[in-house]
Symmetry: C2
Subunit: 204 residues, 2 copies
């Protein structure tokens, strides 16, 4: 296949547009994904220059956050996922230690207040530098009937127990969640058993 | 809410892990999203140091690509989406001109060959610098029953016509696509009517 542009390896620079305020302050007990972080509320604050870019965002029930995994470490091309017991190729996992430590989370939009977006189902750490916000659009973003590789072998109980990592209540299905389920983050969660812990360099 | 880390505005550096080879070479006729790029086949090539990270990726039918929108321009906090006729806040759109021009696409995995991943439903431009590959996991990534803000007012016909932008056949529902629909990219598409064109700084 032809290439029109140069195949560049040159480094590229990103500048944070804001910061994420979160109840999660310990990487070791932070839920591994928004689906394991139901009711975890936080604030996404954009710097003043970007405030007008938040207009219309609160019309969407969900947005993607793209951010810097600022407490991540050195990547390995093979990692054992939190949800699995075998080493897997890094790009077949959501492990935080990546060559470019970019985080991606789909969170629930609660409200916008000026240059702050209040969100729920937040799995990012407090103080996380924010790079971008993109609306979640079902016509763009939903794929069903997919194959999920090694993750298809993870049963729902393991997914809930290992995924929450003590930072949230055991989640149900996010899409079907009722409002009565909110507000449980870090309040009603059960301490994980010893069998649920993972090494600090584990992926998911 | 307290913050444990500094609220940093310092620039952060990313280095491409590979490059995307795509049939799309003209930003003006490139589909706006994978859902509008059915059958568009390309190759995701990672550099040799990252090849082992592709192990197990071909167990997944879909992956997220995170990349640099290398032909994007200066962002504005208000843009008129390709799919809409009114200015919207930038972060309520998927416009390519963003403070951090990070692209996000969910593409179909066809096969892995060494350090190449053959993919379909590709909407990225040829030569795009790649930052990350993350598996698409339904339990992590699907939200249904969402509100889609201004995009909820876009009818399916407009979505198909404006979204393809001449770079692919008019798409159907991605999830329900049959194998007979593949291979249409850039081969069977209809030229867009004048009413389907958008200014080069439009968003979507």
């Amino acid at each position: 296949m032809r290439t029109t542009g140069p195949t560049s390896r040159a480094a590229l620079t990103l500048s944070p547009i804001g910061v994420i305020r979160s109840p999660h302050r310990d990487p070791g007990t932070t839920p591994i994904q928004p689906a394991c972080a139901e009711g975890c509320r936080g604030e996404v604050e954009v710097f003043a220059a970007y405030a007008a870019g938040l207009d219309d965002v609160d019309g969407f029930s969900h947005v993607h956050l793209l951010y810097w995994l600022h407490l991540s470490g050195t990547p390995s091309m093979k990692v054992t996922p939190f949800l699995d017991d075998r080493p897997r190729g890094l790009f077949a996992t959501r492990a935080p230690n990546r060559p470019n430590p970019l985080g991606l989370s789909v969170v629930r939009v609660i409200e916008r207040r000026g240059r702050i977006l209040v969100v729920e189902d937040l799995d990012a750490l407090d103080g996380t530098p924010l790079f971008d916000i993109k609306p979640y659009v079902e016509r763009f973003d939903v794929r069903t009937g997919t194959r999920g590789g090694w993750s298809d072998g993870v049963d729902d109980g393991t997914f809930r127990r290992r995924g929450a990592r003590g930072g949230a209540a055991a989640p149900g299905a996010v899409a079907g969640r009722s409002s009565a389920d909110t507000g449980v983050c870090a309040a009603e969660h059960a301490a994980p058993g010893a069998e649920e812990t993972s090494p600090p360099d584990a992926g998911y």
